[in-house]
Symmetry: C2
Subunit: 255 residues, 2 copies
């Protein structure tokens, strides 16, 4: 029985992956042009849940696109929001300054991520009542800000995102259920920020969960981060697989 | 595709549940008699992974037995260890003193839980190289002690168990992978105990994870605990389902 069940699952993933449609999508605000990345499985014709994917500090990279495709292979319409703007794809040397500009201006960050959400929700094969958002590092911070902005979405998953907030009452407008995934040895997540985040969620009565992965540091889902924990950021295969499974369970529960 | 997949799963669970074998098992040490509860699905004939289940402060109850049956329905040989001894089934008024005796004598606790593990591992349909342990409240403390004792098991899941240790270097002998599941509002889990546990796991280089469930207090998996969070212990349906899913994923990964 067990083996039969796995076989069905495998065939399901394969047939879905074989029919992924991948599109670059341009969208605008009053003064800027953005370029997102939309992926979905063309075999299902009725509107289905949409999942926004928010990139790390480097903007939309091939690694971001691979995540979007993996989410689409689960049966969702997946869309990478472009927070920075079309063509703004910083090097590692430049990324800190650009990410820092947005982290320092949460209103700007919220407006950019909400524009991405709106772009996803108006795709013709998306059920706009059934949306979620996931994000990595900078994007993990961004999707929590999306929730704090009061966005009408079911759930948010933050992968090794900074959880600090400049406005400690920010949680009061949250409608989404929150799953925060953290490396327990991440030197960029200060214990006081984790505790402040938990206090914010608690006082706002948010439906939240946090998973801490032992022996994992920052960027644990990102293969490009290398394997040296002493650098503070490193890929961790086990934490990558576990956090992906936790995300799948949570999206299945909430969408 | 998705609907077909769920149908298969449902049929699978039903057929497994229909063939559960349930046995009371007596076992001994030099001076005491114990009565455990063994459940397995009789349809699979080859040795399979064994999962030890450790009861809460009340000893083996109908609620414990239901958990054992649910674990067996996943395809494992499940066995409730009897930590207290045959017939020792305290009332709530008596339970604190008995649980306290064992929590205060970790060597005794370790010897009792290892005896239960040995009883499971020598069942003829169990693969003794492929064992895990789960436990609730007092049992959640007990399975961590089992790991600290150096038991040769793959994994341990502690549901709202106390994580404190009288010997802070206790983690050095741990071979098992650890998953600790905690109510984020559990008043019986002091923040300093959580931090000490994390420090112990970290310094011992254990493969560990911790999940905190927002809005959940102590005993969140136990329907008998009522629904009033202000009492410090209460059932929480969402945290119950989520923690069960996390356990299933972890057992599938490690066994």
């Amino acid at each position: 029985m067990m083996k039969f069940f796995f076989l069905i699952l495998t065939l399901g993933s394969f047939s879905a992956q074989a029919k992924l449609i991948k599109k670059t999508i341009e969208y605008r605000d009053d003064s800027n042009l953005f370029e997102g990345y939309l992926v979905y499985d063309n075999t299902i014709k009725s509107p289905r849940p949409g999942v926004l994917v928010v990139h790390n500090w480097l903007g939309i990279t091939d690694e971001t696109k691979a995540k979007v495709e993996a989410v689409a292979a689960l049966g969702y319409v997946a869309f990478a929001a472009d927070i920075y703007g079309k063509g703004v794809r910083p090097s590692k040397a430049e990324a800190g300054a650009i990410a820092g500009k947005f982290k320092g201006d949460r209103q700007l960050l919220r407006s950019r991520v909400n524009l991405g959400l709106q772009t996803l929700s108006t795709q013709k094969n998306v059920d706009p009542k059934n949306l979620a958002a996931i994000g990595y590092c900078f994007g993990g911070t961004t999707v929590i800000e999306l929730a704090r902005s009061g966005a009408d979405i079911k759930s948010v998953v933050s992968f090794h995102g900074g959880l600090d907030s400049p406005s400690p009452k920010g949680g009061n407008d949250i409608k989404a259920k929150i799953l925060a995934l953290a490396g327990a040895d991440d030197p960029f997540q200060k214990p006081e920020d984790l505790l402040a985040f938990q206090a914010e969620m608690r006082s706002s009565k948010v439906d939240w969960q946090m998973i801490q992965y032992g022996r994992a540091v920052h960027s644990f889902t990102e293969k490009g981060a290398g394997s040296d924990n002493s650098k503070g950021a490193a890929y961790n295969e086990s934490a990558d697989h576990r956090s992906w499974q936790a995300m799948k369970d949570f999206l299945k529960e909430t969408l």
